[in-house]
């Protein structure tokens, strides 16, 4: 354990002098200010949490159509050549 210094105080602190240091109004003002800051911070966290919840809900619940790729006839092209193809369901390629 650390060491310390003992000092002798000749001048006694009277109740009257201590009374001069009392400031209850200041204490209540500081308390109100700290209370307001705490409430504002809590509100900020709630709003942030709400926004995060909405965002993740949107990602999770968005419709499948928005997610699936487009289907249909594919056009395959080479430079200068455009070939369209489609399924032969008439004779399955038998000529």
């Amino acid at each position: 354990m650390g060491r310390h210094e003992i000092r002798l105080r000749r001048r006694k602190m009277t109740s009257g002098r201590i009374e001069g240091y009392k400031d209850y109004c200041d204490l209540m003002n500081k308390h109100s200010r700290a209370d307001r800051l705490r409430k504002a911070y809590r509100l900020f966290l709630i709003v942030l949490g709400g926004i995060a919840l909405l965002f993740f809900s949107y990602l999770f619940f968005r419709s499948p159509q928005e997610q699936a790729p487009t289907s249909g006839v594919q056009k395959i092209s080479r430079p200068g050549v455009l070939i369209n193809y489609s399924l032969n369901t008439v004779n399955n390629g038998k000529t």
Binding site: G2, K22, K30, H31, A34
Partner: protein, 200 residues
């Protein structure tokens, strides 16, 4: 001339009666719902806490700051306060002690115990004509300086703040037997240089 320390000359630990503690609890419960009711507690304990912090810092401006900080913390944490059969002042002393410790840890300075000369004269049995009085005071201060700080804390709380061992153990967050053991070590050290009159 024999050097005698009469600790019995100091007041015994202040004890509130159960009725007084119960009455105080009602004020605390009211203050939990309405901060304005805290004024009664502030008025009752301001002087005690101020004196306690002044004894630990020897600086009036700093004492003013730390006292204000103590009551602010008490007000902000009031809803978490749980009654443990001790006066509310024990909780205030605990917060004040923590604030003082935080200050010294931050400033990395040697801790100070500022004791009233008048109070020391109460315990050294002597008369005004004693030419060795200054020497005895110096020996006493030197002995107190040699004590470990944790022992000095208990001695100061017991004889200058007049707290009971139960309160001291709560304030310093140590066991009651630990608090008593530290005090006995202080008394044993004083007995090397003084005849100590002490009835526990």
């Amino acid at each position: 001339m024999l050097r005698i320390i009469d600790i019995n000359a100091l007041s015994e630990a202040q004890h509130m009666t159960e009725d007084q503690i119960a009455e105080e609890q009602k004020i605390v419960e009211a203050a939990k719902n309405d901060a304005r009711a805290f004024a009664a507690i502030y008025d009752r304990y301001f002087e005690q806490i101020f004196n306690f912090i002044l004894r630990r810092t020897d600086d009036e401006e700093l004492t003013d700051d730390l006292t204000s900080q103590t009551f602010l913390k008490a007000l902000q944490s009031l809803k978490k306060y749980e009654f443990r059969g001790l006066p509310f002042s024990a909780w205030l002393y605990r917060i004040a002690s923590n604030e003082v410790n935080k200050h010294y840890n931050k400033k990395k300075r040697k801790r100070v115990f500022s004791l009233e000369e008048e109070r020391l004269f109460e315990i050294i049995e002597t008369d005004d004509s004693n030419p060795e009085l200054d020497g005895q005071i110096s020996t006493l201060i030197s002995t107190l300086n040699d004590l470990p700080t944790d022992v000095m804390e208990v001695l100061e709380l017991r004889f200058f703040e007049e707290r009971s061992f139960k309160e001291i153990s709560f304030i310093l967050n140590i066991s009651e037997s630990g608090a008593k053991m530290r005090l006995y070590r202080a008394i044993e050290k004083l007995k090397k240089y003084f005849t100590v009159n002490w009835k526990e």
